[in-house]
Subunit: 338 residues, 2 copies
DNA sequence: TTGTATGCGTTATCAG
DNA sequence: CTGATAACGCATACAA
C-alpha cells in the first residue's frame, strides 16, 4: 500500500511536507507543492483515514441509526438528504438499522463508538417518540422524524404534521366542502393524532359542527402487523345517505383503497367525491387517476437539515434546539369545488 | 479516550494480555481474563477500529454504492438484506449514493479506498447493465441487481425476471385465460425485455397466437422522468370488443392505474378482468382490493446473498460467478378461472 | 501463560 | 518554508 512516506521519497521531500500539501496547509512553495502533487498522482496515493483518525481523533464520519427501512419505503428520502449533505461536506456515512431490536441497537451504538464517529443521526421511519438505547455510549446525536420519550434532551427535527393537515383542511373548506370524512392513520403514530387534531380544530374554527365530520379509524395495531379497515370503512362512509363530499385520508397509501371503494360504488372522483391524501408518496399520488392532492412531507429536507444540525452540534457552533419543518400542499386534481 | 493501555494498567496486566482477552485468544488464565473483563466494563473501554485496521489491514467493512435510492422505494430491501448479513457477521456498512453522477461515483470509490474497505456491493435500483466508474481503485466488488456492461468480469447476482414472468404467464394460462393483455415496463430496464420475452414465449409454447396477445407499452423515457401511458393504454385495451380476460402488468405500481381504468369502465376485478402484477411491492399489492397476485422480486435475498458472495470473494474461499435468484409467485385474489 | 519491543500511516511539535 | 521525531491505539513477533 502506497503511503505518505513513499510519496515523500518520490517527491524528494519529508513526510510532513506531503502532509501539508494533502491538508492544504500554508507554508509550502508552489514549486514544492506541484512536485508533491505529481508524486501523489503518479503513485495513485490515497490517504488512509484510519491512520488519520488515530492521530486527530476526528473521523469525519456520521452514523445513521434507523429502525425499519424496508417496511416503509416512504422515508428513504431522509437518508438521501443526509447522504447528499455528507457528500457535499466531505463526510462519510456509516449506516445500520435496528429492525426494532433494542439489543441490536445497543450493539450498533458500540460499533459506532468503536469507529469513533463524530455524530449520530437517529432516524425513525414513522414520526414517533423513542428512547435511544445508547447505553454508556455518548455521541452527539440529532433525532430525525422522532423525539426522545423521556429525560434526555436531544435536539430533534420533525415534520409539521399539524400545519400540513391544517392546510389540507382549509383547502377543502375553501372549495366549499361542508361534509367531510376523515379516515384515520394508525393512532400509535405521532402524526396521526396531530393530523386529526388539526382537522378537527380547523373545521370547528370554520364553523362546522362535529356532526358534519365523519371520522373513522383506518388502521390500528403494531407497526408492520397492523389491521387495515380502510376499504370497509370507506365503503361504509360513502354509502351513507348524507355522505361526505370530500374524504381526507391519513396518508396516500390508504387513499388507494378509498379510490377503489368509491369506484366500486360507481362514484366518480372528483365529481362525486373529492379525496386528499397525506405524505405525497409519489409512487401512489401520481399513479392514481385523477392524481392526488396531498401534503408533501419534507423528508429530504429533514435529512439535509438534520445533518447540518448535527454538524453544528459536533463543531459546537450553535446551541441547537428542536425544529419542525413545514409540509407543502401539492395541488393536483382529486378535489373539485362544490 | 480509554485505550487498551489504561485497561492493562487497571487490570494490572500488560497490553498484550488485554489484547488476548479482547480477541478471544487462548493462553489466558480464567482468573486473569475475568480481571481484564472487569476492567473493561469498569472503564467502559471500546476498541478503536481505526487503530486495529492500521495494523491488520482488514477493515471488516463493506461499502454500498447505489445509484438512486429515493426515486425507487422498491429495492430498499436489498439494503436491508445486506445490513442484516453485516450485522450477523460483525461487519460494518459504509454507504454512499451517486445520484447518477459518475463524477460523484469516482469520488465515492476513492473515499471507500481511503477507508480501506474490504469490498464493495454495487447496487442498482433497477436491474440494468452498468459500468462502475472506479478509476484506478481496485476493490473486490459484487454487483447486485445489475451486471457490468463491458470487459470487466465482476461477479453479479440478479433476480430471475424471466422465470418470474414465465410462472405468472403459466398461472394465467392454467386458469383458462386465452386472451391476455400485457402492459410493458419501460424498455430501458433490463427486466422489461426479459419479462416480455418470457410472456411471449410461454404463451406461444402453450399454443396461443400472437393475435391472442395484446401487448402495449406502459412507460418510456429516462428513469425518474419517464412518460406514463398506463391509464390510457389500459383503458383502450379494456374497451376493445374482444378484450382480454386477463392483463399482465410490467410491475405492481402500474397496476394501480389498470385497476382504476377497469373500474372506471364499470368492470369488476377479477370477475370481468383478471390482473397480475410484478415485484410484490406490498405497499401496492396489499392495498389494492382485491389484493394483487404477483411475482415477488427476491430483493432481500439479493442483498443477503450478495453480501455473502462478496465475503467469499474477499476471503478468497470460492471462485464466485454470476448468479440469478428466483422470483416467487404470490397468489392472492386478483385472478379468477375462466 | 504472560510480557516487551516494534511498526502500521498519519498528524503534531518544535527545531532548523 | 521545511524536516526530524514523537505520538496515536493496537497487533505481531518474539522473548521470558
Amino acid at each position: 500500500m502506497v503511503s505518505i512516506i513513499s510519496v515523500a521519497k518520490a517527491a524528494g521531500v519529508s513526510n510532513k511536507t506531503v502532509s501539508r500539501v494533502i491538508n492544504g496547509e500554508p507554508y509550502v512553495t508552489e514549486e514544492t507543492r506541484e512536485r508533491v502533487e505529481k508524486a501523489i498522482r503518479d503513485l495513485g496515493y490515497i490517504p488512509n483515514m484510519a491512520a488519520r483518525l488515530i492521530r486527530s481523533s476526528r473521523s469525519n464520519t456520521f452514523g445513521i441509526i434507523t429502525d425499519y427501512v424496508s417496511t416503509t419505503p416512504y422515508s428513504v428520502d431522509i437518508v438521501r438528504g443526509i447522504q447528499d449533505w455528507a457528500n457535499a461536506n466531505g463526510k462519510t456515512i456509516l449506516m445500520a438499522n435496528t429492525g426494532g431490536s433494542s439489543k441490536r441497537e445497543a450493539e450498533i451504538w458500540k460499533m459506532f463508538q468503536s469507529h469513533r464517529i463524530d455524530g449520530v443521526l437517529y432516524v425513525t421511519m414513522y414520526r414517533r417518540t423513542v428512547d435511544p438505547q445508547a447505553g454508556d455510549v455518548r455521541i452527539p446525536t440529532v433525532m430525525i422524524n422522532c423525539r426522545p420519550q423521556t429525560h434526555e434532551l436531544l435536539p430533534s427535527i420533525e415534520p409539521d404534521d399539524y400545519q400540513g393537515a391544517q392546510d389540507l383542511t382549509r383547502y377543502l373548506l375553501g372549495r366549499g366542502h361542508r361534509k367531510i370524512g376523515y379516515i384515520r392513520l394508525n393512532p400509535i403514530l405521532l402524526g396521526a393524532q396531530l393530523r386529526l387534531d388539526a382537522f378537527r380544530k380547523t373545521a370547528a374554527e370554520f364553523g362546522l359542527a362535529e356532526s358534519d365530520l365523519s371520522i373513522r379509524l383506518g388502521m390500528e395495531g403494531p407497526v408492520g402487523a397492523e389491521k387495515n379497515y380502510v376499504f370497509a370503512v370507506a365503503t361504509e362512509m360513502l354509502q351513507q345517505k348524507d355522505r361526505p363530499t370530500a374524504i381526507m385520508s391519513g396518508n396516500d397509501e390508504m387513499t388507494i383503497q378509498i379510490y377503489i371503494a368509491a369506484m366500486a360504488l360507481g362514484l366518480r372522483i372528483p365529481e362525486d367525491v373529492s379525496i386528499v391524501g397525506f405524505d405525497d408518496f409519489r409512487t401512489v399520488s401520481l399513479a392514481l387517476k385523477p392524481e392526488l392532492t396531498t401534503a408533501a412531507l419534507p423528508y429530504y429536507d429533514l435529512g439535509l437539515e438534520g445533518a447540518e444540525l448535527l454538524n453544528s452540534v459536533v463543531t459546537g457552533n450553535k446551541v441547537p434546539s428542536s425544529r419542525v419543518m413545514p409540509c407543502k400542499l401539492v395541488e393536483r386534481t382529486s378535489v373539485r369545488s362544490v
